[in-house]
Each structure stands twice: as structure tokens, then as C-alpha cells.
């Protein structure tokens, strides 16, 4: 391989990683080439270790990296162009595919509200009481702004803590090392259901998470329907439109079915370390679980043990006559510190109280 080939191939390898969602920038391509130039090209294995060190930054990505490396730098260099050999495990849906349900469409549109509510679109819960959505019919831009304001206020309260030092004005030695006791800082982990039955609420709740993350740094956000996805970095993007673009690219099955139990188990095993005794875990879901209730129960119990509080916000709770009778909800209830609604602005205001408790 000539130097030029090497550079070209490395750069296209970096591009392929970027397309798969690796946080790989231009500077990484340069580092990758320099790393290979630093003598690590001697064997395929040493090149793999070197590129991995430069281009991977999370253990979750190691396997995907190795697979792609395998495709790109196969043992025989005479193979066809690398691009043709790259196989992505999550192929993009064809562009002209049938229009996905409304949340996905909303993500595409960015700022426009949900279209007229076709009950058939909410896949797994088409038998859901129609009343449950009424509250969002009059969803206006003004209300979006209100969500931001409420989120910002909650965030300010969470972030408030006593000043670190009060010493500078005291010339007395005994006062010099005095510090006020620091309060333990609250962290939030939010896990939001974006499956079909949640369509009408997800927009509202994501907007809330977006605003909350914007003014409060210690929030980790996840979404799930059949798979769990961390979206903290996507929501960090500003302005909202580009955050939405990021979400659209990273979440593959908006508005599909639900596997709450399986997704929360995944969360527990892969991300459980983010949860400790000062973490409030908020689950936003209607509890229409198609999975095994025992699995859901186990996952919640484990989370409850780690977290300071486990809050479940169920938009359906806002509709008169709703009772949490679904199997999923039944399995969940014993483990929750708070079970509350999240269907309108008032319920978000109430959330403030739960978070600060």
C-alpha cells in the first residue's frame, strides 16, 4: 500500500465510523494517519490496536469498531473497494418507505406539531381511551416556551447550593479554612418511552428533557421503544432543530412497539453505574408493556435499590377513569417512589416537587 492509499483508506475508515455514530472528527483522521505512521503498520493487529486507541472512546463501541476494521482492512489488500464491503447492522430505512407514525414524522418536520390524530397510527395502543390525548390538542408554541421556563426553574433549584467559601472577609486565622458544608448534588436520569402509544406525549416530554438538560448539566437522557438509546449528547446540541436532527439519526425505531422490561434491564446492566444514592430516576411511559412483567419488576427493583428516588410519570394518569391495570404497570407499582401524571403543564410543575423532595 502506498502512503497515499493508506491516507485515503484511513480517512474513509474514519468517515465510515462517523456514519455509524462514532464521535470521530477531522482531527481524528489526522491522528489516525499519524498513529499508523508511527510504526504501528507492521502488522494488522498492531494497526488495529493503534487505530482503536485513537478512534474509539467508549467500551460499547469496541466491538462495532473491530467489526468495521475487519471489513476495511482485510488480510488481502486485493479485495474490492472498502465502501462496498462495509456492512452496517442497522441499515437506514429506504427513503420512500411508508410514512412512519406521527412522532417520526414530527422529528422530520422539526418544529411542526403533531398532525391530526389518526387513532390507527398509535400502533400498540389503538384501543387507548381517546380522552387521554385531548389535553394535547391545543398544543401551542406558547406552551412549548412554558415548558422551557418550567424546566429552567426546576434546574435552577436543583443546581442551587450554598457558596463554597465565606472566608475572604475574615482576617482571623481560625476562620480561614472554614467552608460551608456542601449539599449533595442531585443527578437526574430520564428514560423516555417513544413507542407508538406514547406518540402524542413524547414530543412534549422530549422538549422538557431538552430544556432541562440545557440548564442543568447533570441530566442523562435515554429513550426506548424496542431498544434503549442514550440521547444525552443529541439533546446537548443547540438549537433545538439540530438536536432533533441528531435524534432522528440516532433513534431507529421511533413509534414502534414497546419492550419496557427488556429496555430497563438493558439500562440496569449497561448504564446502572450512572445511578447512585443521589440520582433521581424518572421513567416516562404509559406502561403498555408487551414484554415479560417479571423482567420489568426485576429491573425496577434493582434500580430502586441504587437510586435515591424512582419516579414513574404516566401520561395516561391524567385521563379521568384511568387505572393502572396493564400488566406492566401492575408489575411496576410496588417499586416506585412516585407514580404521577405527565400530561400537561400542571403535572410538570408537580414534578418539581417530586424532584426536590
Amino acid at each position: 500500500m502506498t502512503d497515499g492509499d493508506l491516507v485515503a483508506r484511513t480517512v474513509s475508515f474514519c468517515r465510515a465510523l462517523r456514519e455509524r455514530g462514532f464521535p470521530v472528527g477531522v482531527e481524528h483522521s489526522a491522528d489516525a494517519v499519524r498513529a499508523l505512521a508511527a510504526g504501528t503498520l507492521e502488522s494488522r493487529e498492531s494497526a488495529r490496536l493503534a487505530l482503536r486507541c485513537v478512534l474509539v472512546s467508549r467500551p460499547e463501541d469496541l466491538r462495532a469498531f473491530d467489526d468495521l476494521f475487519e471489513d476495511f482492512f482485510s488480510a488481502s489488500p486485493e479485495e474490492p473497494q472498502p465502501e462496498n464491503r462495509v456492512k452496517f447492522p442497522f441499515p437506514e430505512a429506504p427513503r420512500d418507505a411508508e410514512e412512519p407514525p406521527s412522532l417520526a414524522r414530527w422529528l422530520k418536520q422539526g418544529e411542526e406539531g403533531p398532525d391530526d390524530d389518526d387513532p390507527e397510527e398509535a400502533r400498540s395502543a389503538s384501543d387507548m381511551p381517546a380522552l387521554a390525548r385531548k389535553d394535547f390538542r391545543d398544543f401551542t408554541d406558547e406552551e412549548l416556551e412554558q415548558i422551557e421556563r418550567i424546566a429552567a426553574r426546576i434546574a435552577r433549584k436543583l443546581a442551587a447550593r450554598p457558596s463554597r467559601r465565606t472566608m475572604r472577609s475574615h482576617p482571623d486565622f481560625t476562620e480561614l479554612r472554614f467552608r460551608e458544608r456542601r449539599t449533595r448534588k442531585t443527578r437526574i436520569v430520564a428514560i423516555c418511552d417513544v413507542s407508538g402509544s406514547m406518540d402524542l406525549y413524547s414530543r412534549f416530554l422530549l422538549q422538557f428533557l431538552y430544556a432541562l438538560q440545557g440548564s442543568f448539566a447533570r441530566v442523562e437522557s435515554f429513550v426506548f421503544s424496542t431498544e434503549l438509546r442514550r440521547i444525552t449528547e443529541s439533546l446537548r446540541e443547540r438549537p433545538y432543530a439540530s438536536a432533533l436532527r441528531g435524534l432522528r439519526d440516532s433513534v431507529r425505531d421511533w413509534s414502534g412497539g414497546t419492550r419496557i422490561g427488556a429496555c430497563l434491564s438493558t439500562f440496569e446492566s449497561e448504564w446502572g453505574r450512572l445511578v447512585d444514592r443521589r440520582t433521581v430516576v424518572i421513567i416516562l411511559s404509559d406502561g403498555w408493556d408487551t414484554g415479560d412483567p417479571a423482567e420489568l419488576s426485576r429491573a425496577l427493583e434493582a434500580l430502586r435499590m441504587r437510586a435515591r428516588r424512582l419516579i414513574w410519570l404516566n401520561p395516561l394518569l391524567g385521563s379521568p377513569g384511568y387505572e393502572p391495570l396493564t400488566q406492566g404497570m401492575q408489575a411496576a407499582l410496588p417499586h416506585l417512589s412516585v407514580f404521577a401524571s405527565a400530561h400537561n403543564l400542571d403535572s410538570l410543575r408537580a414534578l418539581e416537587r417530586h424532584l426536590l423532595a
Partner: protein, 292 residues
């Protein structure tokens, strides 16, 4: 394996650090690309030890910044020694002379904290270990990024201090919090997982030579099975080493059930784990034996 990597492996091994090519490669690249190395992995796999071994093979000083919740720029960078400044002023008052501002804001009154120590270090660039960065706050992470990007610090009263040569920076994280992408982007990355049977065995042989080959293999085999048994607090290599040392002190030459039951507290630090494992052993589901 390429020459510089092989050399580093060999040097690490001389420092009694059992490494693998991935570790040696990342140290080599950190040197060549002059980037900080972010080391992540479960507790007790030897992340901090890497920095110590690195400073030993470079014969460079090791400067350690232990992170904790609430760590702020002042405790990481520098503070003025108020007590000393005040003493100085009072002494001068007694002698009816004046302490000038320039006097009390000079180097003798400056308390250098680890980051400034690393920057103001004279002679060979030191190894700067920023330990458990995940325990510091996000605000501190942002501040650290700034320092790591140019290795210079402005102390308003003294002027700008610049590092002579770039310190070698090693950051470690237990992942109790996700680090920002900005920090990850700036660093080379090394993930250290729990060691394989072979690697752990060679670590035990190396660090607890008294254990003997047969016992060492039994110890490592058992710990490896414990890790797969999904205990809540998975034991790290350091626990394996503690246990091996304890067994050697008890003159054990072979693992048996009584011996394991007595000393299991070296490996498992959680009451429910201990109970669970004892039950498993009684039920015969957790055999003793010198295999992975």
C-alpha cells in the same frame, strides 16, 4: 509486535506491571501524538498503576490529582497561602515597616496544587495522573480541558506560567458518570477490562510469588468464576492479590471449602454477595479448581 511497543512492554514488565499489547500501544501513541490518555475500566483493574509504572519507566516525577465531588479550580491549580501572608503582614506591623503587596503575592506565598505543579515543573516533564475524573463535576471537566489544551496558567499577580515540556497526562475513570464528548475527543482511549485467566495468573505469580503455581491457578480460577457469577461488587485484581496474600499467610497450599469460606471476605465485600456465593458453593454450583 512493533519495536517501540515491545520495548514498552518489556519496561512495564520490569516494573512488575503485567501489560498487554493494547496497553503498550496506547502508551506509545500517547507519547508520539502528545495526547492525554484516558483509561477506563471497572474498579481494581490497574488503571492508576499504569501512570505509576509509566513514571517509573520514564524516571519522571509522578504528580497526582485525585478528583472528588466538589473539586474546584483553586484546589487543583493554586491558592494563595493566606495564613502565611497574614503572618507576614503582622510581623511587619510589629517592626513598624510595611509589607508590600509584591512581597506577599510572590512565589513563596503561592500554594501550588497538582496542575500548577505539573506546569511549573522544572527538569524532565512529569507524568500527571488525573485520577477518577468521573468523580469531579462537569464544571471541573470543562476547566480541565482548558488547562490540558495549552498547559499554561495565568496567575494575575505573577503573570503567565508555561510548561517547559508537555507533561504526560493519564486520566482514569470508573464511569460513575459519562464524561463529555469534548474530553473524550481530546484524549486517546484505553479500555481495560477484567484480565483473562492467563493474564491474571501471571499478575498473581508476579506480585505474590509465595503462592506457588498450583495455588495461584486455583485462586485465579475461582475469582474468574466469581466474576461470571454476577455478584453485585465484582472483585478486581487487587482483591485477587489480597486474597492470594492472605492464603499465603495462612500457609495454604490448596483451596478447600473451609479455607475459602473463611477467607472469602478478602474477595467479596458485600454481605449479600457473600451469602449468595456460600449458598452456591454448598449447592456445588461453584466448583474449586484451577481452570478459567
Amino acid at each position: 509486535m512493533i519495536a517501540p511497543v515491545a520495548v514498552i512492554l518489556e519496561q512495564l514488565s520490569r516494573e512488575a506491571y503485567v501489560a498487554d499489547p493494547a496497553i503498550a500501544t496506547s502508551l506509545h501513541l500517547a507519547q508520539v501524538l502528545e495526547k492525554p490518555l484516558l483509561v477506563e475500566g471497572p474498579a481494581g483493574v490497574g488503571k492508576t498503576e499504569i501512570a505509576k509504572a509509566l513514571s517509573a519507566i520514564l524516571s519522571a516525577d509522578l504528580i497526582r490529582l485525585q478528583c472528588y465531588e466538589g473539586l474546584d479550580a483553586a484546589s487543583a491549580l493554586y491558592e494563595w497561602n493566606y495564613a502565611r501572608q497574614l503572618l507576614h503582614i503582622r510581623l511587619h506591623e510589629k517592626n513598624a515597616s510595611h509589607a508590600t503587596e509584591a512581597e506577599i503575592f510572590s512565589e513563596p506565598f503561592l500554594l501550588k496544587r497538582p496542575l500548577l505543579q505539573a506546569i511549573a515543573h522544572s527538569g524532565k516533564p512529569p507524568v500527571l495522573l488525573i485520577d477518577e475524573i468521573d468523580r469531579a463535576d462537569e464544571e471541573f471537566e470543562a476547566f480541565l480541558l482548558e488547562v490540558l489544551s495549552d498547559f499554561q496558567v495565568t496567575v494575575p499577580e505573577l503573570g503567565t506560567l508555561r510548561a517547559n515540556g508537555r507533561p504526560r497526562v493519564v486520566l482514569t475513570s470508573n464511569r460513575s458518570r459519562e464524561l463529555s464528548d469534548a474530553l473524550r475527543r481530546r484524549c486517546l482511549y484505553l479500555w481495560i477490562d477484567h484480565p483473562t485467566f492467563e493474564k491474571e495468573l501471571s499478575i498473581v505469580r508476579r506480585k505474590v510469588p509465595g503462592a506457588g503455581d498450583a495455588l495461584a491457578a486455583e485462586i485465579v480460577g475461582f475469582v474468574q468464576r466469581l466474576r461470571r457469577a454476577k455478584v453485585a461488587k465484582i472483585p478486581g485484581v487487587s482483591e485477587t492479590l489480597d486474597w492470594a496474600a492472605a492464603l499465603v499467610a495462612l500457609h495454604a497450599s490448596k483451596l478447600d471449602h473451609a479455607m475459602v469460606a473463611e477467607t472469602l471476605g478478602c474477595v467479596l465485600k458485600d454481605e449479600s454477595d457473600l451469602r449468595k456465593v456460600r449458598d452456591e458453593m454448598e449447592a456445588g454450583r461453584l466448583p474449586l479448581g484451577a481452570t478459567a
